[in-house]
Subunit: 251 residues, 2 copies
């Protein structure tokens, strides 16, 4: 089953029994079209979604109609597990591409919480990873320049996709427009464009139509001041994410 491998990749230390348990808690698998809103702000919900395939976003809408992303989700992410305790969200969840998601009822999660504290702690951990990423996004917005922010975001996304096998070190899918990237880094689409040109001319990476090609990961990491510690990756993936492992070891 597809979800199984996704769960395996994401939370590496999950035991077989735990994976089985989680998988059997899946109520259904839904698909959404690109652009659809999966969960709307301030709406009571009693399910949480695990992203199986595709990309999703979480974003807050500003009063003036602008929006800002607070998270980009890749396959294997539990996109709104935090709703299990919050019961309603302070932001929207949307599909960036056509996606398929595994639906967990909160009832089923409650059962896990009461019957398998170890697994519950893992789920809690997953939501804490999310918070750690939020903190890094705060750091990115507060302390980095436009060029550094974009580089940092690309490094982060690359690292996370590496962890789930969606990148092999040389490039990865990124189904986002330059305006979308702007909504992550708090930049206008115009300025994102200029920054991407700079990164290209510096020989670091090429970003075009839904795909990022990495030319010099170590350089990109340096420009973005990227340190993957906050992603709590295993050492091997972390090393690869910052370019400390030669590409020749892989594929």
């Amino acid at each position: 089953m597809l979800t199984k491998s996704v769960l395996l990749n994401r939370t590496t230390s999950l035991s077989d029994a735990e994976r089985d348990r989680l998988e059997s808690a899946i109520a259904s698998v839904r698909t959404l079209r690109a652009g659809e809103t999966a969960v709307r702000q301030d709406t009571p919900i009693n399910t949480s979604l695990l992203l199986v395939e595709g990309f999703m976003t979480r974003h807050v809408d500003a009063r003036d109609g602008k929006r800002h992303l607070v998270a980009v989700h890749v396959p294997g992410d539990f996109v709104d597990l935090h709703a299990f305790t919050l019961k309603q969200l302070d932001h929207d969840v949307g599909a960036l591409t056509d996606v398929s998601v595994a639906v967990f009822t909160h009832e089923a999660l409650e059962k896990i919480l009461f019957e398998d504290a170890t697994l519950a702690k893992r789920l809690w951990f997953i939501t804490m990873l999310d918070a750690a990423q939020h903190r890094q996004w705060i750091y990115r917005l507060s302390s980095l320049t436009a060029q550094q922010r974009v580089a940092h975001f690309l490094c982060e996304t690359h690292a996370r996709l590496l962890a789930v096998g969606w990148s092999h070190g040389h490039g990865f899918p990124l189904p986002m427009t330059q305006s979308d990237i702007g909504e992550v880094c708090s930049l206008t689409n115009v300025h994102v464009n200029r920054v991407l040109r700079d990164l290209r001319e510096m020989g670091l990476c090429q970003v075009r139509s839904s795909r990022v090609q990495i030319l010099d990961i170590a350089g990109l990491v340096k420009v973005g001041s990227f340190d993957p510690g906050y992603l709590y990756l295993n050492a091997h993936v972390a090393a690869q994410a910052v370019g400390h492992i030669g590409d020749s070891h892989h594929e």
Copy 2:
């Protein structure tokens, strides 16, 4: 006991039994001097701290020596409960004032997780509140101007202090320098100074030496586009936080 009332205020829906249970899990109470670092980044820890008295911060250090706050903690906050699952933090925790903190061993928390799933879920919820605040900080940095950011931060802090009885609607303690506020809002101390002057001249609030006096909460809320939904407060406090309850009802 002091901690009891703090716990009561913060998580309103805690039952007596749960409060007792939590309180009995306290291993010790420590004090720290203003400026001390309670928890250092990337250092393995096996305790979590509940702030009983005083103010604390969580901050990430940038490469260039600058730092940026990712959270300001008020009495009643579980400042590093997230360490229970993460085991080491991606940021520092420091004391803004002299503080006293209740120490919980992760062993004791583990016991709660295994024996009292309902209480464990409340603790999980508390960590999710934290994440919700992180998201709002991202929104603040990305979508608001300097003036709006400062107003928003003041509204947030006021709302949180209202919830724990440290504000009565007209003012509250805020032991932060203008540079500290700058590290929250990603502004220089010089600009924070100008913004505070503006807010004063607009008749909204006065911020001086560790104390904020609120002159027009509704106006401040409006300037900061503040909506306390993300704090998940009870309706009464939320209404008071945005100035929808006349002051005459209180004190």
